[in-house]
């Protein structure tokens, strides 16, 4: 095999490898090989959590898999909002904390430009619910935890009531409570007190077997896998009746990691907040220069300052849960002294990022951002499925017809072009994976269209070769001249289409962008397959049949 052909084959093999991308190429994050991706899935316990799955990295647009697309803006129709950009940031925060409520695997919450939030919820078919979750305004409260342990005191009664109601404990009472407790890194000053309490929790009751005493009064930890069970138990009427008056049970916003295990916090807090978000004026994060630790500073309104100063005066050394939308945010801090209009939450050795998150949470509760939906698109999952089926059928039929025409008209040369089309498909899909492009319905149309463009190059080349052959050139000479003369026309046609596609990409929305990027990638892939690969095939063909006098073209 001449070096020329060998090099060409090596390049083709390399391109195919990059497009398909088996390991170790897939480690670079390119290629079609199934990749590990993190998606959120609903576990058996009804909670959303991150799972890693292997799959082919080509995303389907909402029009193909069904789902909801929402664009939101800060509503200024009922009076100007002082700081629209900050309002947007807070709204983003609130929507992100509610993301689990959507119950979809891959939600996208994204800020677009200065004044817009785009939410995409693949697979969800209930726009009314999505709207209500998003537009509900955030509610922030500070609540004192159950410092007198009134809830803990009634746990034995609750257990008894549950047994009477026929609820059995899961059997395996958590052994090694103290071991877990040690790992919790509790506040040492309260150790004696709570260890005793934890022992009482060690009973194998239906509820108590699920709870670990946390490091502060009113905090309990429930292993993530027991979350659903614990949640249903505390909402049984028999249990709700026994929960002390003035106490409410609230879950933590997210899982808490302790000793390589994941827990949900269950907080017994006062039913009445000591202050709500309406009295908060502002909150900022900073690094406290004295102790070099991250803190969140907050400022209350004047009226709020009076209320807060009275409340904190009564609750020095108590813990204060920060509750946003009924979920406790972070671990409750302790109130060190009476606080007036300005307060500071110290976060110990947490990062500035954590402090900024907390400050944003406070601001989100203080200044709810009214959002208005300016665009909404919902595609039902069955329609999406239908679109894929029809689009695929059109793509297959279109491709087969194009292949038939080429094969019949150009015979062997046509079959070479058809074989090159196979490479074209691999390159195009590889390119889509590389750029993380989303395959939409218009994208499928572009795919079909670019098959037509791909054979155009082969038609130009084959016609030129025929002309050269008619002029009695040798096979090899006709081949070279054919490719050479067809080249300017091919480059021209590809360039003019790419130019248009680039403008479409710049100005289009989701589906049109999908069309544009598929078209550009299709043209590049078709250039490779029609020009480089077909020519290689021709060269091999001539090489293997040196005696051939007539080309089947």
């Amino acid at each position: 095999m001449p070096a020329n052909i060998r090099n060409r084959l090596l390049i083709i093999a390399g391109l195919v490898l990059i497009s398909i991308g088996p390991p170790p190429i897939s480690w670079l994050g390119i290629g079609l090989w199934p990749r590990q991706e993190t998606i959120r899935t609903r576990g058996a316990d009804g909670r959303m959590r991150d799972t890693v799955v292997d799959r082919v990295p080509i995303k389907q647009g909402l029009d193909l898999q069904g789902g909801i697309h929402l664009a939101l803006e800060v509503d200024q129709s009922r009076g100007a909002v002082a700081d629209p950009s900050g309002a947007l940031e807070r709204a983003l925060r609130v929507i992100r904390t509610r993301i689990d409520e959507f119950g979809v695997a891959e939600p996208l919450v994204q800020r677009v430009g200065n004044d817009r939030i785009v939410v995409e919820l693949p697979g969800l078919g209930d726009p009314a619910r999505a709207r209500s979750i998003i537009q509900r305004s955030a509610f922030l409260e500070f609540r004192i935890t159950d410092m007198q342990n009134t809830f803990r005191a009634v746990i034995p009664q609750i257990d008894a009531a549950l047994r009477k109601a026929g609820v059995r404990s899961t059997g395996a009472a958590p052994g090694g409570v103290s071991a877990v407790e040690q790992l919790l890194g509790r506040d040492t000053t309260k150790k004696a007190d709570t260890t005793a309490a934890a022992d009482s929790l060690n009973a194998a009751g239906p509820l108590s077997s699920l709870l670990f005493q946390g490091s502060i009064e009113g905090e309990f930890l429930v292993p993530e896998e027991d979350f659903l069970r614990a949640d249903s138990l505390i909402h049984m009427p028999e249990v709700e009746r026994l929960i002390p008056r003035g106490i409410e049970l609230l879950w933590s916003a997210g899982p808490i990691s302790q000793a390589a295990r994941s827990f949900y916090g269950l907080y017994a807090v006062d039913r009445r907040p000591i202050i709500t978000g309406e009295y908060l004026a502002d909150a900022q994060a900073q690094i406290d220069p004295t102790y070099n630790q991250a803190v969140a500073n907050f400022q209350l309104t004047r009226a709020g300052g009076r209320i807060f100063s009275r409340a904190t005066g009564q609750h020095v050394n108590d813990y204060m849960a920060i509750v946003l939308d009924g979920r406790v945010q972070g671990r409750p801090p302790v109130i060190k002294s009476q606080i007036g209009q300005r307060g500071q939450i110290e976060l110990g050795n947490a990062s500035l990022q954590d402090a900024q998150d907390l400050a944003l949470t406070l601001r989100a509760g203080a200044l709810p951002a009214p959002l208005t939906i300016i665009e909404e698109r919902t595609v039902g999952p069955s329609l999406g499925k239908d679109s894929i089926d029809k689009g695929m059928r059109a793509a297959v039929v279109g491709t087969v017809v194009v292949m038939l025409i080429m094969g019949v008209y150009y015979r062997v040369a046509g079959l070479l072009a058809v074989a090159a089309l196979g490479f074209y498909v691999v390159f195009l899909l590889g390119g889509l994976a590389l750029f993380g492009a989303t395959l939409s319905m218009p994208g499928l149309a572009a795919f079909v269209l670019s098959i037509g463009i791909a054979v155009d190059a082969n038609v130009l080349i084959n016609e030129r070769i025929r002309e050269e052959l008619a002029h009695n050139k040798t096979l090899r000479a006709a081949l070279d001249a054919g490719f050479q003369h067809a080249m300017p026309a091919i480059v021209d046609s590809n360039l003019s289409t790419i130019l248009t596609a680039l403008f479409l990409f710049q100005f289009g929305t989701g589906p049109v962008k999908g069309f544009a990027i598929t078209l550009v990638l299709g043209i590049l892939a078709s250039f490779l397959s029609a020009v480089f690969i077909t020519r290689t095939f021709f060269l091999i063909w001539i090489q293997r049949r040196p005696a051939m006098k007539e080309l089947s073209i």
Binding site: I374, E376, V379, G380, G398, P442, S496, T500
Partner: protein
Amino acid sequence: MIRFFANANYDFMGARRWAYAATAAVAIPGLVLLLFRGLNQSIEFTGGTLIEVTSQSPQVNEGSIRSALDAAGLRGAEVQTYGAPNEFVIRTRLSPTAERSEGATQQTAVAVDSALTHAFGANQARVGRYEAVGPKVGGELRQKALLAILLSFGATLVYLWFRFEWRFGLAAVAATGHDIVLTVSFISLMHLEVSLVVVAAILTIVGYSLNDTIIIFDRVRENLRRYKRQYLYDVLNLSVNQTLPRSILTHGTTAAATIALLVLAGEVIRPFAWVMSFGIITGTFSSVYIASPLLMIIEHRWPGEDARGARGSAPPPHGAVVPAATPPA
């Protein structure tokens, strides 16, 4: 060996007046209709709501949906079947005089949904697709679509300016303009819904037609160098005839692909597929019958340096001796 139209020697230039007539036959009614009826803009551009409903129940039809909407006080909604007889599309557009509040489209959508549930019972009319676009987004998308069309046209001009001398460029641009006018006329005649995807189709057509024109003009340039003593009229005819097999085959395959989309790919993409299919025809037509005659007219008016214009661009009335379509030496 199968060869279509090999060594063809059709007098394309001579048929140019018929071609002008054909253009006028599509363009005039299309544009007149456009003037009176306007474009059927999708709610992406006007703002409004679109709800696609599928129903298995025989009592759900266009009339009963309309009366259900009327009963709920939602007048002015358009109801159409969409693809299958049990699929319907309900459109409400924001009228320019309507209260331009962003929440209005949302409320309409909810109202339509509840009116349907009220009239036919829950789950009798299943919502397959649902879009609500506020006036602000509508305005933005309209602006973006216009900008995309203008800029891509501008870029095409610049490209042609580099690629050809101005006479060729002008002819190609005019032919492209012709394609846009004809495609818009077609859209107007068919009352196709103009969405962003259809705008994308129009722009793709522009690129496609331009590419076709460029391929013919490349041949013209090549032949002008080769047959220095020929009339431009004959050189143009020769070039079109030489590229004819390529044109037939390419447009045949691309048309096969877009017709597959038109027939098989469903309602959502159908307006796109219509425009693409028509555009391939008009793009081919304009490269042959519009771009080339225009080049002749332009050369005649402003003769080029190779003095072909001085010899006269048209051949003698009858019986010109033309070299056979021999391939290049």
